[in-house]
Amino acid sequence: MARNNEIPEVNAGSMADIAFLLLIFFLVTATIQTDMGLNRKLPSKEPTPPILVNERNILRIVLNKNDQLMVESEIMGIDELRATAISFLDNGGAAQRAQEPCNYCKGTNDPASSDNPSRAIISLSSDREATYGTYVMVQNELTAAYNTLRNREAQRLFHQDFVEMERQYFDPQTDKAAKKKLMENILAIRELFPMQLSEAETKQIQ
């Protein structure tokens, strides 16, 4: 009995430390998956009748196997692409021809560039040997161009950024009524600057 009394109490104080260590280990190792990216819609396989598009309404972007960018027959750095795309989309050249004028465009009304954002098409063709990283960069710049213009219009009409509107729409915490209203606004903006990105099948460019 006397001996029993001499056994010291097991110190549980360090238990917390051990548990904390485990906790921190799990916090650090459990990497949350990155699930963010650029959304795109592929064209349907259904054959569609070819549409005649005026050459001035197309911005041709070519990405070659050395990851060089050619926009409308000119070599261009990727950092200039955004501004080029914006000025192409926002051109509103139809003002010169008095048909379907674009009354919200703030571009230069260059008659050799796009008539109206609703007609402007960006055509991107990339070589099979181009790297995916560059391709995503190009896609990102084009998205940025659209977002900039859409933000501008959304600010003008609804005093809110377009990107913010979309974020709120996809936020599960937004309630239904607000979502409906947001969707209307989003569609209105998308109408003004529809994303028309045509991707020809990647090919081996000689």
Partner: protein, 159 residues
Amino acid sequence: MGNFRRNKKKLPAISTASLPDIVFMLLFFFMTVTTIKNTPILVDNNLPKADQIKKLEMKERVIEIYVGKPTEELSKVLGSEPKIQLDDRLAHVNEVAPYVLSEIAKRPDAIRNTMTVSLKVDKKVKMGIVSDIKEELRKVNLLKVNYTTFEGNQLSQLQ
């Protein structure tokens, strides 16, 4: 002073015995909540960076396809050509369509039309294989794709 010391002696020590319990509770909470993806990634997966990105909501509506060079150990056997990883195996391009369809079949009817394919492609991969995959997806009429990226300023990776 004497009074003070006597008071102090009477105060019971705060028991910290329940602290481990609290921490363990937190630990179990984190262990259960964080889903560690147990499909091993067999390919290099250094995603490109982009900043005009949107979050992919609702995991159950996402099918993932990895593309990249096989990892170092595997590349000794398989070479360094980029490979496609579906689930936990490496596959050929023409296996993409059947795989995607079988994944869709596992989901409830209501969400089958809203499925998105998340393409997790290494940034060094050539476009050829990516466009082959996109062509396969078009064949099965699965048109929503997401080029999954890391968040960041992409122009900084130019150098």
